[in-house]
């Protein structure tokens, strides 16, 4: 049973000087085997465990995490949540996720601080405008909220923006998804971890998976730093290390891993209420509740596993930010970091079965899988429970690279955060 969080429990616990709060999740030793083992304690792995328990009654589940839960891209990303994707398949999946986001704090009884402050995508030339209009129309007809903003409307909404952008990349228009926004990344991982744990899921941290036991094309369990753990089904959710996992299991993935970086400024009083993104000049920015400007930069142009991101990318990004927001030029970068993102050739995820029976994979979210976490976890759990994909993730099979059924999100949004 999970101790409920509320203003009342907070007040009650204040009386005992907060000495009596229970642990948000246990720290169990792994059992010899489970019905389902999930590799990777990021948002996706934890959400999957939660929905396996909640939607399918499968509670004999372990989430096995190499380090500390939420320490991968889940805890490094810039938390943009939106669903205004171009293609029907993507829009359906991401909007399904967005709808879960809208009630997630209540469902998990953990404030994930999803705040629908709106996501604005800027257009800087005729080509951008055309693509923007195509996407807005597609969104609308898919039932995803999306509207066009003129430069004057943009300026009204975001007073610190310079729609002339220094003259080089003037802002000609934008799309706005009002239901989009940001959330608190750690809270997402913690909220799912706590809720999954309450339903009986074992979360095992500091336990790298080092190999698979596979016989006759069927997975039997995983070799870990804490010994062999048997499982009828194994589900991979390790983001940047997906191709490493696949290699251990003996198959190949069309996935490239590159460092993607982000940075924050020092905290200041609120000056920017919405998320602003510009693909043309590779920058996007929001302001956190703490007051920091959270800025997403581009990916390094080479494959790597160093979680830092190179200086030239920082320079380009901040130059763009300084142009769009000339009063921010005196702000200061307080912290910069990187995460390893797993990208597919079509910039869409892989979510489904693998060539090995009982082994499933969820990866390829690249630069944009935070927002999808609730929806992806939900359909991944379905896929694992039923051993077949849900209609929402059927298009995102590994097989599509053989059939050619690609869902190419590069075209409309080269940087898909």
């Amino acid at each position: 049973m999970m101790a409920r969080y509320s203003i009342f429990s907070l007040a009650r616990n204040a009386l005992s000087y907060h000495q009596d709060w229970p642990a948000a999740w246990r720290d169990p030793a792994p059992k010899p085997s489970y019905q389902v083992v999930i590799i990777g304690g990021g948002g996706h792995g934890l959400a999957t465990a939660y929905y396996l328990a909640k939607e399918h009654g499968i509670t004999d589940v372990a989430v096995i995490e190499r380090g500390w839960l939420g320490g991968g891209n889940t805890g490094r990303n810039t938390t943009v949540v939106r669903s205004n994707y171009l293609w029907d398949e993507s829009a359906a999946l991401y909007d399904f996720a967005l709808k879960i986001w809208e009630g997630l704090s209540q469902e998990l009884n953990f404030n994930v601080m999803f705040s629908q402050r709106g996501v604005v995508n800027l257009a800087h030339n005729q080509h951008d405008l055309r693509e923007l209009s195509r996407r807005i129309n597609a969104n609308r007809l898919n039932g995803v909220d999306s509207e066009f903003l003129t430069p004057a409307e943009i300026k009204r909404m975001i007073p610190i923006i310079d729609v002339r952008a220094g003259g080089r990349y003037p802002v000609l228009g934008a799309s706005l998804q009002r239901r989009g926004g940001t959330a608190r990344h750690d809270a997402l991982a913690w909220g799912y971890a706590r809720a999954a744990d309450a339903r009986g899921v074992d979360i095992i941290q500091e336990c790298p998976v080092e190999g698979f036991r596979i016989e006759n094309g069927r997975v039997l369990g995983v070799e870990t730093a804490k010994g062999f753990i048997g499982a009828a089904k194994v589900a991979i959710a390790v983001a940047g290390h997906s191709s490493v996992m696949a290699t251990l299991a003996g198959f190949r993935m069309p996935v490239t891993s590159v460092p993607l970086q982000a940075l924050v400024s020092e905290p200041v009083k609120p000056a920017l209420d919405t998320v602003v993104m510009s693909n043309a000049i590779h920058a996007y920015i929001s302001q956190s509740d703490k007051g920091e400007f959270v800025i997403g930069a581009g990916a390094d142009k080479y494959v790597g596993y160093g979680q830092r991101g190179s200086l030239p990318v920082t320079e380009e990004t901040l130059a763009a930010v300084c142009e769009l927001f000339p009063s921010l030029r005196r702000m200061r970068m307080m912290r910069q970091w990187g995460g390893i993102v797993d990208t597919c050739p079509d910039a869409s995820p892989i979510l489904g079965k693998t060539p090995i029976d009982g082994l499933y994979i969820n990866c390829g979210w690249g630069t944009g899988g935070f927002k999808s976490t609730p929806g992806a976890g939900w359909v991944y759990a379905y896929t694992i429970a039923k051993d077949e994909p849900h209609e929402l993730n059927a298009p995102f099979s590994l097989d599509r690279f053989r059939t050619g059924y690609l869902v190419d999100e590069h075209g409309a949004a080269a940087v898909a955060h």
Partner: protein
Amino acid sequence: MTQRFRLPEGGLIDRAKPLGFRFDGTRYQGYAGDSLASALLANGVHLVGRSFKYHRPRGIFSAGAEEPNALVQLGAGARSDANMRATQVDLVDGLTAASQNCWPSLGFDLGAINNQLSRFLPAGFYYKTFMWPAALWMRYEWVIRHAAGMGKVPDARDPDHYDKTYAHCDVLVAGAGPAGLAAALAASETGARVILAEQDGELGGALLGLDETIDGAPARDWVAAARAELEARESVTILTRTTVYGYFDHNFLGLLERVTDHLAEKPARLPRHRLWKLRAKQVVLATGAIERPLVFSDNDRPGIMLAGACQAYVNRYAVKPGSKAVVFTNNDGAYGAALDLAAAGIEIAAIVDLRPDPEGPATERAEAAGLPVLAGHAIIGTRGDQRVDQVRIARISADGASIVGGAGEGAAQTIDCDLVAVSGGWSPTVHLFSQSRGKIRFDAELGCFLPGDAAQATHLAGACNGAFGLASCLQTGFEAGAQAAKAAGLKPGKRRRKIQKAPEASDDGFLPARWTWLVPSDRPLGQGGKHFVDLQNDVTAADLKLALREGYRSVEHVKRYTTTGMGTDQGKTGNVNAIAIIAETQGRPIPEVGVTTFRPPYTAVTFGAFAGRDIEDLLDATRRTPIHAWHQRNGAVFEDVGQWKRPWYYPKASESMHDAVNREVKAVRSSLGVVDATTLGKIDIQGKDAAEFLNRMYTNAWSKLEVGKCRYGLMLGEDGMVMDDGVTARLGEHHYLMTTTTGNAAPVFGHLEEFLQTEWPELEVRLTSVTEQFATVSLAGPNARRLLAELTQDIELSANALPHMGLARGRVAGIPARVFRVSFTGEMSFEINVRASYGLALWQAVMTAGEKYDITPYGTEAMHVLRAEKGFIIVGQETDGSVTPLDLGMDWILSKNKDFIGKRSLTRPDMLKPDRKQLVGLLTEDPAEVLPEGAQLVETVLAKPPMVMVGHVSSSYHSPNLERSFALAMIKGGRGKMGQRVFAPLQGGKTLACTITGPVFLDPEGERLRG
């Protein structure tokens, strides 16, 4: 007389240069050489800010980069800076500063209500509440957001400019304390190119704040001599006010130089800040150490300061940080501070020492001087509203976990004071070392994290490597400098100079010490009284323990849950205490808990410095053709295409865009148009395998193309999707000229090179980008040949001599030229390529000679209409990375007899499905309605979404030739749906009905372009 707390003599300030400044509106005076913090203290101002969460009064805590409290808003208007550490702000005349995060005033701050409510606001409280009702979150959040944040964003465009520079050196020395100076001396002795970077305005580091001797003379004399020596050496560059903020791979480092902040008059020619991108063969880190506070109850009041900082204020700035001090320490070092304070006339009420039997060289001196010592005691509480005025002291138990005599006031004694100087030991500044990926290890005796194995060409000197004594600093500095120079390949110096071996100095350090990480109080932790670990973010020891209790076990979890170490100081004073308290609570050794990752930057770096000069027009290159000036003079409206400025249309007097484009389109079809096509990418391809290379890159065959002929080519990605198109001409046996689309010139070049270099290095092919070498003037229309004939004598223009897709060389208007007979408009068309420098001359000649044909310059919009009438695609408009040649109905261009990039992908089952989106034409039922580009198409209109979409409009125009609107679209299974109706439900509610047609609207046989 102001500056009541200024000592009558001493310090490194210039008393001849008084400087006026304002803080929160009040006028004060300081001296040149002051920091804002020292000047405030000289005037007795301790309260300078409010804390982040509880809005508690806070004072100046340190004298350097580690400052968590004294953050101020500097200046006003466009030049205002938020969150500036007063300890690092050089005082300049006329400076204005204001406190932050308080309202209505610093003294009376309504936000301080949070302090009263703090019992309800433990770490992470916001994860547990604000959830009901869900709809109210945005309101709650509004309040949270406005309570958070510290300083303010300036209110206008930053008028200052910034710069960047690259540099290389043999040895970078980071930090110019005794160790860094010694390292720089030893390294440069060899003639090595040395860069010495120091964040302070002065050299000397810790020596600036200490009263030490070297070789029997004041240490400052040695610093001055070292500086003079270094300045005399040509190979040495000294950078002051320059922070090495980042240590990247391969000894690549980022430095921020603050060039003009400290100047009252800022020369306009100088940048405000300069970003150094430095590649050093060897790096010596001499970054020193940061003093650690003790974690005791209510350890945050103004007047509670680091002991070393108190010492620095006395010695460097000649400022008395108080009148009556209590020194609270766990080590020998703070006794030195006590002695210096006493010497400055500050009464030492007590030295409260956690150690039961204090010993050590400084301790002995202090005892000899008669300073009162309370051994085995602790401060267990403090009092004072906006400044500390009293401390409570009690004896602590042998294990340090509790006080002797238990709870209750009885056990404690009180001492009045206005200053508490605290020392909990020292933390080496290992930030850069850790950023370089060097391993950090915990040293139990020194009670701190030290560098372990280096990951790069890094050397360590002085306190940052645990060599705390002055003699050791000098010694390790000399050694590291010499080693670094040697490793950089330089020979030991021959010259014998005055300063070349470590001079004599004391080596006291701060040991012995007693590590009591959490100082007990007479009340249970968290129940009255706050033990702050992170002063800026208001994180207490109770918060850390709460996080651990709630299952946040990893140090990273604790950090994120409590926000410890996440303020602007990034935990410089708090982190080690936090880690130790976590370890103690968990019963684990400190090394097992480990550190959180050190991320760049060491201290915050201005955004503007990263941008440097790459702003406004220089944010990205603006490319203009040689004919640009003419276009401008003739009223062209430009469009950005990639980096290029292209004429979009040329409105006359009062013409609308619509009218101008119609006129331009009609002119081309009826007589003669001219377009500046210079921006198309041009790649010169040479080598004996050039034809084979083209065969592989393009979908069609190239081996049989004759010299002097052109061919249209289509290029696919490996996924079989259209990537680019363009005409390639065969100029010679092994010589081709490829054209690409304007936007794709660089990506295509990269694509070609990638395959040449990584897949087929055996092919003998050389690529040269010649886009900018040639200007292209393209004539199109029924009179194109007539005009060209007037301009050339040596080119035979007959249909036989220069047929469609032919190529000729000769002179046009007297200028050496290549003439390609190719067409993007469907009209007879000649593209004249001349050397770029002749572009404008050619254009002018064409315009003059063309007058009689009413020659009309046309822009990209007219060009798009013209090509769309012919059903020609634009890559990036009809295609979007998901379109195959089959989708475009271009099966004819796919060679069956050879392999090419993307061919295999085209055979995948999905590529052959009949319901893929295919290129078609589209006519609105109302010919006056022009479909918006990007409109989505449905077969069945529903009252509201969702609706099933079957395609979208990729290009759409009004055509004066067709005298109606028309469009190109990509529609699922479109080629099988000719004549069917589809609908475009538009934004705003209107729906346009249209009919699917073929994509070619004009001259399907192509007669116009032959002739």
